[in-house]
């Protein structure tokens, strides 16, 4: 449904999006993660055809964002980050206006507006002026607007920003339900939300796509954290050659202790095997712990490094 190929965007001399490529299939809910200014919103704006890419391209539902922009816009629902609304309009009026702009027929309009008012829980404010709504309600009006024309693709820029915990839960449930029949690309800062609704996460860092993994894959592997009193190189060598170990990152302490982060190939409990290998060499263990890496740690790993590709190359 969404195909992005080598998408690059410069704002003057500033490189906002750097050669990003990904695909999103029909019925997939993909979370876009990244720090502020990482390039999430710019990517979304390019996909909604509001901004053109400097180079590279994207196609939504088979239509090119640059040359078939109207066809793309007919098939997407977009919720921008700050939900701009006309303050003098009433909620109902606004949804009516937007559904007309999106080409909904008169008969469908009434039903769809009614459905969206109910689903986004804004029925009680439908006669209120948009200018007097709180952030949470504005966000939900924006979401209702995005889904009013029943688009095949939803692009949601921080759909839960400003919502209270109950509303967040509601909105996520709604997104999950919508995702059953639609393609959804959403961005957020809240990592637990991503875990709850998304099938896949993409992390954008400094304009580049630093990670693109399925949630299931991320949760497949565990990591063992071990602190060993022994020679740095040897310890690393021994751990790396243990069965079931994928990789080792070592950080020597000053007092002859080396702290190792051992990435495993699967979720088997490797603590005893590792302890045996170490004690067999006559070294002592100061601490040993096996943990499942959470998305948050995965995210922090990526954003705390510098340029991901350069680091990898180095």
């Amino acid at each position: 449904m969404i195909e992005v190929k080598n998408l690059t965007k410069y704002f003057g001399p500033v490189l906002a999006v750097d050669c990003v490529s990904f695909n999103v299939a029909r019925g997939e809910i993909v979370g876009l993660l990244g720090l502020n200014g990482a390039g999430k919103t710019t990517t979304m704006r390019i996909l909604t055809t509001y901004l053109p890419a400097t180079s590279g391209g994207a196609a939504l539902a088979g239509f090119d964002v640059r040359t078939q922009s109207l066809d793309v816009r007919k098939r997407i629902g977009y919720l921008p980050e700050n939900v701009p609304l006309y303050p003098e309009m009433r909620v109902e009026e606004y949804l009516d206006y937007r559904s007309k702009l999106k080409g909904l027929g008169r008969k469908d309009r009434q039903t769809r507006i009614d459905y969206c008012l109910g689903r986004c829980r804004i029925r009680e404010v439908r006669r209120r002026l948009l200018g007097t709504l709180s952030k949470g309600y504005r966000q939900r009006v924006g979401l209702a607007d995005a889904m009013v024309a029943d688009p095949a693709i939803l692009i949601l820029d921080e759909p839960t920003a400003g919502l209270d915990p109950v509303q967040i839960r509601e909105t996520l449930a709604l997104i999950k339900e919508l995702g059953a029949s639609r393609t959804i690309l959403l961005s957020t800062h809240i990592l637990s939300e991503i875990e709850e609704v998304c099938d896949r996460i993409m992390i954008i860092h400094r304009g580049r796509l630093a990670s693109d993994k399925k949630i299931a894959d991320l949760e497949m592997t565990d990591t063992v954290f071990v602190e060993v009193h022994g020679p740095n190189d040897r310890v690393v060598e021994v751990l790396r050659t243990t069965d079931g170990v994928d990789g080792v990152q070592a950080r020597p302490f000053g007092d002859g202790v080396v702290a190792c982060e051992v990435t495993l190939r699967n979720r088997d409990d490797m603590r005893e095997a590792i302890a045996q290998r170490i004690t067999r060499n006559g070294w002592t263990i100061r601490s040993l712990d096996q943990r499942r890496k959470k998305i948050e740690e995965h995210f922090m790993d990526i954003v705390s490094t510098g340029d991901p590709l350069r680091d990898k190359a180095g």
Binding site: L51, L101, R121, K135
Partner: protein
């Protein structure tokens, strides 16, 4: 030993996972800001209405007050009603909005009663001015109430009252106008016009997504089409009898002329109703966006403020104009005959031109700049809409309001002719209206362009104001030139809109000059579209 009063709570073993969302209680619904401003306006307005109303009643009872005459009384009542209206629109408190609703019903009923009751004269004798004025006041207050009311049923009743009055006015105007010429002018015409406004308000507030609103709009269109066709059918016999073929055979020889003025008035009214129906029911993006922009003007005080200010300026200016031109300074009595060209001296004066320079920036300053600033432009451009449609809809709405601001000026001229009984050469006025439309399109499009450049309304306003001033200065600079053969003199004469005004007010319509202004309009609009599109090149 434990107290008997304390019982151990038994765990019923039911886990808490059947969790359902509780009813929304969180304080995320913000309370409306306390409408202090509107309440202040309301209080002052009420005081003024009482003050002015008493003065008017004293005057009507035949006594004259030495310190408050009917003019001041009328002005105070008008200003007071304005204040009350601001309050009615800005204060959505239940008690207050329902109080205004009752007031609106009362005024509407009184207006309807006065319109039909034959008091000391024929039926409809009091329609002008009392019935009409009361109905319009009732309409404005009812509209303000409907905007604020949250209960669907009460709102619908209020709307049906408006729709009902509108339908009755329209029917009375069209049917009565077809029966009697003396009824058509002025009562029938005014009924048709007032019915138009009432029905517009009804359909606009009900919305065409709603079945009632939609079919009402179709009904308005059908009535308009019928009236227009009837007017044409009744005008045709005389027109045909004038043709050679009919005249030779003596067909339709005795048919009386109908087109002027009856046929034309009814045809115009019918076409206006038809246009209203098309405008309200159209699903074309351009019309949808124009409707929204007009709504934005009329939902905020800006349109009312501009119209009222212009009406006041026109009123004062007209008073001064009549005093200067039409009264004999020695005797203070009307001069015999009107000094022609009266239209020229009426419009080609400092105050109308100053108003023009002032109104264009006010109407256009926020058109695109505000959309740009608040981000709503992004919302529109990510819906399947083109930049051209957005710019054109903004332009059309602003041009419509621009032309509306001149209505009071025109009405005073009509009053001079009809009420004052001063016939004058009105053709230059028609020529000037056409020129105003074309030059106005140029000014408004310039305003649209400047508002597309910036996110700051004030900057847009200043640029447009300077642009308007330059256009006026061009004319003044040209006047200072000594040689009429100089190239610049010719160029300035072509470019300056005031030269075109002068010609039109003199009764000459320079079509080539109109094309110049049309191309200027296209030029500014094209640039505005390109500015919106420029985000794609940057």
């Amino acid at each position: 030993m434990s107290s008997k009063a304390i019982r151990e709570k038994k765990d019923d073993g039911r886990p808490a996972y059947h969790w359902t969302t509780p009813a929304e209680l969180s304080p995320s619904l913000t309370r409306d800001a306390e409408p202090t401003g509107p309440r202040l306006f309301g209080a002052v307005g009420l005081a003024l209405v009482v003050f002015g109303g008493v003065a008017l009643l004293v005057h009507l009872s035949g006594r004259t007050s030495s310190w408050v005459g009917p003019t001041w009384g009328g002005l105070a009542t008008l200003a007071g009603l304005g204040g009350l209206l601001l309050h009615a629109a800005g204060d959505s408190d239940l008690q207050i909005r329902r109080a205004y609703m009752s007031f609106a019903y009362l005024v509407l009923a009184l207006g309807a009663l006065l319109s039909v009751v034959p008091y000391k004269g024929p039926a409809f004798g009091l329609f002008l001015p009392y019935g009409l004025c009361l109905l319009l006041v009732g309409l404005l207050f009812q509209m303000a109430f409907v905007r604020n009311e949250v209960e669907a049923k009460t709102r619908d009743y209020a709307l049906y009252a408006l729709g009902g009055v509108g339908a009755l006015l329209a029917l009375a105007g069209f049917v009565g106008g077809n029966i009697s010429t003396s009824f058509l002018l002025p009562n029938g015409l005014l009924m048709v016009a007032a019915g138009f406004v009432f029905l517009w308000a009804f359909v606009g507030l009900k919305g065409v997504t709603d079945d009632t609103g939609y079919y009402a709009a179709l009904g308005v269109g059908a009535l308009g089409a019928l009236a227009a066709l009837l007017a044409l059918a009744r005008s045709m016999p005389h027109i045909l009898s004038q043709t050679d073929a009919f005249a030779r055979r003596g067909w339709l020889a005795g048919s009386a002329p109908y087109l002027m003025p009856n046929g034309l008035v009814l045809l115009g009214g019918g076409l206006a109703y038809l246009a209203l129906a098309l405008f309200m029911t159209s699903e074309r993006p351009f019309v949808i966006m124009t409707r929204r922009q007009l709504g934005a003007y009329f939902y905020s005080p800006i349109a009312y403020f501009m119209l009222l200010l212009f009406a006041l300026v026109a009123c004062l200016y007209f008073g001064q104009f009549v005093g200067d031109r039409l009264l004999d300074p020695m005797t203070n009595r009307p001069k015999t005959g009107v000094p022609e060209p009266i239209i020229l001296s009426y419009f080609f004066s400092l105050i109308p031109i100053f108003c023009l320079v002032f109104v264009v920036p006010v109407l256009t300053m926020n058109l695109l700049s505000e959309e740009n600033r608040s981000g709503t432009l992004e919302m529109t451009l990510t819906a399947p809409q083109e930049e051209t449609t957005i710019v054109l809809s903004k332009f059309a709405a602003a041009l419509f309001l621009f032309m509306m601001t001149w209505v009071p000026w025109g009405l005073f001229l009509v009053a001079l002719r009809v009420g004052g009984g001063n016939p004058f050469d009105y053709q230059p006025f028609l020529a000037w209206l056409i020129v105003l439309l074309f030059t106005g399109a140029g000014f408004v499009s310039m305003g649209v362009f400047f508002s597309s450049l910036t996110k700051n309304q004030l900057t847009a306003a200043v640029f447009t104001f300077v642009g308007m001033l330059l256009l006026v200065v061009l004319f003044l600079a040209k006047q200072q030139m000594t040689s009429q053969d100089a190239l610049w003199y010719k160029v300035f004469s072509r470019v300056s809109f005031l030269d075109l005004w002068l010609e039109a007010l003199d009764g000459k319509l320079a079509v080539s000059q109109l094309f110049y202004h049309l191309s200027v309009t296209v030029f500014w609009l094209f640039l505005s579209v390109k500015v919106l599109e420029s985000r794609k090149w940057r």
